[in-house]
């Protein structure tokens, strides 16, 4: 083989190796098997070009571009967003990405690399169009959270300093309350171990059992009939007042001193 041929072969091998490397890194992909989706954000939380895109935790694509676009508005709501992130989602995972899917920026791994998590939408919701602009979920801003916590801590400190006397008083009272509760609990514990108390408790238990049986019988048909008879008796006795009794005794010729 000629020297020139060998040199040419080595060159071709090197180019093929570079192409394979670029393919595995996702830089070169002549057989594109993914769709693009554009996402609007106002805060991207440190996501970078090349960050992974995951659907249900499975890697399905990557972030391909991050553009600053002041004045960009969401088509449906008209909300102004300033960042446009372009991401790819593989054709295999695309059917799970629906109009109601959410696009979160999350943290993963030991070193906390950022990635785009796509929550699968419901099957009733229509499918997303390739290249459609969708509003992403802005991640919480840690700096704002810290700043708000700092303000809150300052307010709590102010409150404590202004009401130092009353707070101390309240704490003292709470302390004595806890002490009293503790004493009561100790006393209760001693009482429950006393024999007489146990006897009383047993009697009360028996009494309540008997009452249960009695009330059960009162709800029966026999008790109902008795109640009806008593009701009728009371109604008849109600008419038997002083003039009626006096009249009855006069008729019978009995002399008695009533009431």
């Amino acid at each position: 083989m000629k020297v020139e041929t060998k040199v040419g072969l080595l060159f071709v091998v090197a180019v093929a190796m570079v192409a394979a490397f670029a393919y595995y890194l996702g830089v070169l992909n002549p057989f594109s098997d993914s769709y693009k989706v554009e996402l609007g954000y106002n805060f991207a939380g440190g996501i970078e070009v090349g960050s992974k895109v995951r659907v249900m935790g499975i890697e399905v694509g990557k972030v391909t571009a991050i553009d600053f676009e002041p004045g960009l508005r969401m088509p449906k709501t008209g909300e102004e967003v300033k960042l446009k992130i372009t991401a790819t989602v593989s054709k295999k995972a695309w059917p799970t990405v629906r109009q109601d899917s959410k696009f979160f920026i999350n943290l993963a791994g030991v070193i906390g690399e950022k990635y785009l998590e796509v929550s699968p939408g419901s099957s009733e919701s229509p499918a997303l169009e390739p290249g459609q602009l969708v509003r992403g979920e802005d991640p919480p801003r840690i700096d704002q959270l810290i700043s708000q916590s700092y303000g809150l801590a300052g307010k709590i400190l102010d409150l404590v300093q202004k009401n130092e006397g009353s707070i101390t008083d309240t704490l003292d009272k709470m302390n004595s309350l806890v002490t009293n509760v503790n004493k009561t609990l100790v006393l209760l514990e001693k009482t429950t171990k006393n024999e007489k108390f146990s006897h009383i408790v047993n009697n009360v238990d028996t009494l309540t059992s008997d009452l249960t049986i009695l009330t059960a019988k009162l709800r029966g048909p026999e008790a109902q009939r008795t109640m009806d008879l008593m009701h009728r008796l009371v109604w008849r006795l109600d008419k038997l007042d002083e003039p009626a009794i006096r009249k009855f005794l006069q008729q019978e010729g009995i002399k008695a001193h009533l009431f």
Partner: protein, 263 residues
């Protein structure tokens, strides 16, 4: 005798020699650059030199970088387990280390010892057998005739070998991590993708070109300064290998420093 022990005289001699050597080397570099971009071009000779530098070195380079990759991945895994009890990120940063440093530097040092030493001996022999003077008498510029084809061939061979060395090195790391550390091939590539970018390979190729360019310059420089006799050739060869190795390390530091601005 008294004069040679005079420290000022020693320092002065050393400084004058250093100045002479530096100016001569810069002159050689400048003339080589001028001759590289001006016709006539010696394509056939350049291809022959490329074959000598790249094709005949590729196997030894691949073997050595694969061994280096194996050591890197095993050691990285051991250290990570020692420090954070987890070596899941080892393929990622081992790949980055290979691409940013290991592949190119090991390749350059191997080429220095194989090609640089040979070039210095070849040019030194030409010098002491007065072949260089003969070229001058024939009106042929020795820099264009001897240095330029080797310079161009070494730059392109440096790029090509850096690419091949790095990718073979990565493949070797993948094989070792799959066989020894229990990773899957897909897991290795996924972890690697988290750290490695295509620009890392481009930077490695640039380093390869830079390392490749200094090898023939130092070899030819010491070859042209070669003194007569076998001892002179040996000294020229040794000096050329030492100077090239040191310059490879220094250039590596400078380029790494520059490239960090692009990350």
């Amino acid at each position: 005798m008294i004069e040679t022990l005079n420290p000022f005289a020693l320092l002065g001699t050393w400084l004058l020699n250093a100045y002479d050597s530096t100016s001569e080397f810069l002159k050689l570099t400048l003339l080589t650059l001028v001759a590289t971009f001006t016709p006539p071009f010696r394509f056939r000779d350049t291809i022959k030199q490329f074959y000598f530098v790249a094709n005949q070195s590729v196997l030894i380079v691949c073997f050595c970088v694969t061994s280096a990759a194996a050591v890197t991945i095993v050691e990285s895994s051991y250290h990570m387990k020692l420090v954070i009890q987890n070596d899941s990120l080892v393929p990622g940063f081992a790949a980055l280390l290979i691409l940013r440093e290991l592949g190119s530097v090991v390749m350059a040092l191997l080429i220095t010892s194989r090609v640089g030493a040979g070039l210095a001996a070849e040019v030194g022999s030409m010098q002491i057998t007065e072949q260089v003077d003969a070229l001058k008498m024939l009106g042929i510029n020795p820099i264009r005739f001897i240095v330029v084809p080797r310079f161009v061939a070494c730059i392109f061979a440096g790029i090509l070998l850096a690419v091949i060395a790095n990718l073979v090195c990565l493949y070797g790391a993948m094989v070792v991590s799959t066989w020894k550390l229990g990773y899957t091939t897909g897991g290795f590539i996924t972890a690697m993708r988290g750290f490695v970018h295509f620009r890392d390979l481009v930077f490695a190729a640039i380093k390869g070109a830079a390392f490749g360019s200094v090898i023939p310059l130092f070899s030819c420089f010491y070859g042209f300064r070669c003194k007569s006799g076998a001892e002179g050739v040996g000294l020229a060869t040794t000096n050329s290998v030492v100077a090239t190795s040191v310059s490879v390390i220094v250039i590596d530091f400078c380029l790494t420093y520059v490239f960090t601005n692009f990350y």
